[in-house]
């Protein structure tokens, strides 16, 4: 595979599909989109199987000096590989979920999704700072259209909010990038990851990048665009938004903020911790009182992504690995939960929780899948959610037990709102006649749920498959940031050993006491 431009090919296939979809009829567009995404997924599998674990850090590199000011440079490490796999895995599912739900302007819809796929792969594979920015930012256009054209009733407001929020966040990052490139003299990401910027400047650069990634993740209080965007977007739009686009923020932290500005990351970790703690508790409580299923899952996303951010800024291997697994797991699980909402939304055209009830009676298979994903979202052992959240929280516990304590309440609250949601939708009596008449999931819906369910279980039972490619990269990152790691309150400190055992009683040789001692025996 050496020298074969597989990453470019993975972007070219959906791009060609997108252009074809623009001119194709509805039926043809669906099939073109499905085959393009499946071919890309196939290429993704080839990519993973040819990725050499323990090989050089950057593999499948490509470089061409096509543009002025920046170069077309691609290449992936294990972290990027896993996120690319997540993207290409979710895309066919998205296309399938829109198969019947989208009836208007199908060609343009499929084209928008395929463009989105190109941009997502490009973002994760870019090795040039500005190329990354281009892919990162270009995603606004298709997503704006997806929300605005095929969204719900309040789609205009949601699309504007999404667009302007994200744009404002990222333009400051661009200014910071210019400064970095002027300072370091290169826009090559691997080189910049080793470059030491002056600590004073790092703070500003970090804040500029933070503005962008914190909106994208999203972190409290920049999260308000997310519930609106999720609620209004079509099902597949929500899946891709929660599944991949939110991960761009986390990827940004792990690729840029941490390795490029380690000192600033350490100094400002309190900010990330503070916002994340608020997010975990506050958004979980907000999720608890939602009447709209999509909104509930959207708020739960904010809470889960907060676990990612604390894990990232824990400055140790466990935290980083945990954050990555939570990202992957959340990508699958929240995507799947949005699909679950979409399945019943397609039948009843409402997201109101109260309009459903007792679905496990008439839709047993659906209830089964929904249960699995609910449990994965809560973090039940055996599912992917457990692995990630456990590692993440174990990581942060080493740095700050207070943060760990508060973030762990998120697991409990998560169980509360997810189980409450599940009870209201799937259990209880069949109060609504129309909900009770809904048919169980179709083969098409099986085809989109079953692979995700399998992946969730695989990641829960044998996470090593997913951790192995990332291990060396995370170790390298940990080595890079270790010097700057903040003071931790839970680190083990070697004390002076006691002379005697802690429970040893004072031993006296007087006669009176000796008899008492023997009596005690």
């Amino acid at each position: 595979m050496e020298g074969f431009p597989i990453l470019s090919l993975m972007m070219l296939v959906p791009l060609a599909g997108a252009l074809m979809c623009l001119f194709a009829g509805a039926r043809a567009a669906r099939w073109i989109a499905l085959s393009a995404t499946l071919v890309t997924f196939g290429l993704g599998i080839a990519l993973w199987s040819n990725y050499q674990i323990g090989g050089v850090q950057w593999q499948f590199t490509e470089r061409a000096e096509l543009f002025a000011g920046f170069s077309y440079a691609l290449g992936i490490d294990g972290i990027a590989l896993m996120l690319i796999m997540l993207s290409v895995f979710l895309m066919p599912v998205c296309i399938l979920s829109s198969w019947e739900a989208i009836t208007r302007r199908v060609g343009e819809y499929m084209a928008a999704f395929l463009f989105m796929e190109v941009l997502m792969i490009g973002t994760f594979a870019a090795q040039d700072l500005f190329l990354f920015y281009m892919f990162f930012e270009a995603g606004l256009i298709p997503m704006y259209l997806i929300i605005g054209v095929w969204g719900g009733d309040n789609r205009i407001y949601a699309s504007y909010k999404f667009f302007l929020y994200t744009l404002l966040g990222s333009v400051l990052m661009l200014i910071a990038m210019f400064w970095m490139v002027a300072e370091a003299g290169t826009s090559d990401i691997p080189t910049l990851m080793q470059y030491s910027f002056p600590p004073q400047a790092q703070i500003w650069l970090w804040l500029a990048f933070f503005a962008s990634f914190a909106v994208k993740v999203p972190m409290w209080p920049m999260h308000t665009w997310l519930p609106d965007a999720h609620v209004q977007a079509p099902t597949a739009g929500s899946v891709i938004l929660a599944g991949v686009l939110l991960k761009l923020g986390g990827y940004g932290f792990i690729r840029f903020s941490l390795p490029m500005f380690p000192e600033a990351s350490a100094q400002l970790a309190w900010l990330v911790f503070g916002l994340s703690m608020v997010a975990v508790v506050y958004t979980s409580l907000v999720a608890l009182v939602q009447h709209d299923m999509k909104k509930l899952i959207a708020y739960s996303s904010v809470a889960h992504m907060a676990i990612v951010t604390v894990g990232l800024f824990a400055f140790n291997v466990q935290g980083l690995e945990g954050a990555m697994i939570v990202m992957l797991s959340h990508g699958l699980v929240s995507g799947a939960l949005f699909l679950c909402v979409g399945v019943i939304y397609d039948r009843l055209h409402t997201r109101e929780i109260a309009r459903y009830g007792g679905l496990s009676i008439n839709m047993p298979y659906y209830a089964l899948f929904f249960m699995l994903f609910t449990m994965a979202s809560i973090g039940l052992p055996g599912t992917s959610g457990f692995v990630g959240e456990f590692l993440s929280l174990a990581g942060i516990y080493q740095t700050s037990s207070t943060v760990a304590l508060i973030c762990t309440t998120g697991i409990i609250l998560g169980a509360a709102y997810m189980l409450y949601l599940y009870r209201r939708v799937a259990f209880g009596g069949q109060t609504n006649a129309d909900a009770a008449a809904m048919p169980d999931i179709s083969p098409r819906e099986w085809a989109m749920m079953a692979p995700i369910a399998a992946a969730v279980l695989w990641m829960g039972v044998y996470p090593e498959s997913f951790l192995a490619p990332m291990r060396a990269d995370i170790a390298a990152l940990d080595a890079r940031i270790a010097a700057a790691a903040p003071q931790s309150d839970a680190a083990l400190a070697a004390g002076t050993p006691r002379a005697a055992a802690a429970n040893a009683l004072p031993h006296r040789q007087s006669a009176g006491h000796a008899s008492a001692e023997e009596g005690a025996h």
């Binding site: 000011g69 281009m134 605005g148 699309s159 333009v171 200014i175």
Partner: protein
């Protein structure tokens, strides 16, 4: 003075003048029936003049060999680059005009007037002189030749009251600005004893006295009017709205390029020693144009007015490159100008294609509702232009902002750049409103007319350049712009 050498340098201008005079005669005898042929010949003449620029642009020329007519003109790479852009815009304005004037959009005066192409030729000639001026006299000569042609062009639909109003407004305010400029020039002459750029520069020495400072400010204000930078922008929306759309397309492109190029030449070659004196003025105008251009556009319902504010907004970003006050900034400014010209021509061509069966034009938001369903090709092209104007990658408009902001940050003006880029988000609001109306709203279904091949070709071409494919041009574009900017920074 070697006249042969001088004439060789101004060969494109000579061609334009000769063609203009000849076509004027044809117009006098042939009348409006010959208008189409005149337009084609005029476009050919401009194209020919453009071809003459190619060798010099390619090699990059500067130094004393580029001075013509006793240093009145300076035909260096910088002038060539600006001229190439001006000619491109003029050709665009000539191509799109006939279809417009022969349709119902032209009101009761159907049929293109034969003077239109001739006036465009003379305006281009004036702009050519402007950008190659090396003396305040030749500067003023070129400026007025351009302005007088432009006043007439704005009012060319004589029975249309809006067109007449636009012409009159443009004339009155333009004359005022010319007066201000002239006053500034006379002050500079009084304090330095020369009108040549070199003479004034040497006369100013290191320090600016109060009188010379006034001269500088008056000159800059006069020029700011011509480029419609805030706070001298008030005429722009009215003139753009009232003038016939092909004329508006012309105004938004060629004169802007000429005036910006001229401003840059004046500030660098005349006031190059007093950067601190004008840099803050330009910085203020840049920021103010970005912010007020964007805020003004938000409330607009008329698309032409909106594009007028958008051009004010864009001028702000162009001035950002100027404010950097180094060769990188000037090169960035030139790159921006090129991309701006292409985007503007493209958007105006798209506006010209919004017509009903009779050919009458639509120009409000209400008319383009749901355009993506009824006229998908136009809607997608407009989407490309609008996102590009907003500076969203991967469209070429992002590259324009990219080079400008890169130059700003590299020169150390980080806070200035940060404020400007944050203000650019305000602009994104109305550009995405365009997209929202076309793509999200229910179709109004009034745009039913068909457009000619010329429009489609121009639309396709500009959209292809603005699409990500345009990035393949960026290497040669920046190379040309670097050469041009380098010519500007040779100490005389």
């Amino acid at each position: 003075m070697d006249f042969g050498h001088s004439f060789a340098l101004v060969a494109p201008e000579l061609l334009l003048s000769a063609a203009g005079l000849a076509l004027l005669l044809v117009a006098a005898w042939g009348g409006d029936n010959a208008a189409r042929a005149i337009a084609i010949s005029a476009a050919a003449a401009v194209f020919g003049a453009g071809i003459m620029l190619v060798p010099g642009l390619h090699v990059g020329i500067d130094g004393p060999a580029t001075l013509a007519f006793g240093s009145l003109l300076k035909i260096d790479s910088y002038a060539l680059f600006a001229k190439a852009l001006i000619y491109l815009a003029a050709i665009g304005a000539l191509i799109i005009a006939p279809a417009f004037f022969s349709s119902a959009a032209a009101g009761s005066e159907r049929g293109m007037r034969a003077e239109y192409p001739v006036l465009v030729l003379f305006a281009s000639l004036g702009m050519s002189i402007m950008v190659s001026a090396n003396d305040f006299m030749s500067l003023y000569l070129g400026l007025e030749l351009n302005s007088l042609s432009a006043y007439v062009l704005a009012a060319i639909l004589r029975r249309d009251t809006r067109s007449g109003e636009a012409g009159l407004k443009y004339f009155v305010l333009g004359a005022l600005a010319s007066g201000i400029l002239l006053y500034g020039m006379s002050l500079l002459y009084g304090f330095t004893g020369g009108t040549g750029f070199v003479a004034v520069r040497e006369g100013l020495g290191g320090e600016l006295g109060t009188g010379a400072l006034f001269g500088l400010i008056f000159v800059l204000s006069g020029l700011a009017f011509k480029i419609s930078a805030v706070p001298f922008h008030m005429w722009t929306p009215d003139v753009y709205e009232g003038a016939p759309t092909p004329v508006t397309a012309f105004f938004a492109t060629a004169p802007k390029v000429a005036a910006v190029a001229l401003t840059a030449r004046v500030v660098f070659e005349v006031f190059g020693g007093q950067v601190a004196a004008w840099q803050q003025i330009v910085m203020f105008m840049a920021l103010a144009s970005i912010i007020f251009g964007a805020l003004g556009a938000i409330g607009q319902d008329n698309l032409k007015r909106l594009l007028a504010y958008s051009s004010i907004n864009n001028i702000g970003f162009i001035l950002l490159g100027l404010a950097v006050a180094n060769a990188a900034g000037a090169a960035a400014m030139l790159v921006y100008l090129f991309i701006y010209v292409v985007m503007s021509i493209g958007s105006f061509v798209a506006l010209l294609m919004l017509r009903d069966n009779e050919g009458a034009l639509f120009e409000t938001f209400a008319d383009i509702r749901g355009l993506s369903v009824t006229q998908p090709a136009i809607a997608w092209a407009l989407l490309v232009f609008m996102f590009s104007l907003a500076g969203i990658p991967p469209l070429l408009g992002f590259f324009a902002k990219f080079v400008v902001f890169q130059a700003t940050v590299e020169a150390g003006l980080v806070a200035f750049g940060a404020i400007a880029i944050a203000a650019s988000v305000i602009g994104a609001f109305y550009y995405i409103k365009f997209v929202k109306v076309m793509f999200f709203d229910a179709p109004a279904d009034v745009v039913t007319g068909r457009s000619g091949a010329a429009h489609w070709v121009l639309l396709g071409l500009t959209a292809a350049i603005i699409s990500p494919l345009g990035y393949l041009l960026t290497r040669s574009l920046t190379d040309l712009a670097d050469k041009a900017a380098a010519a500007l920074f040779l100490v005389p």
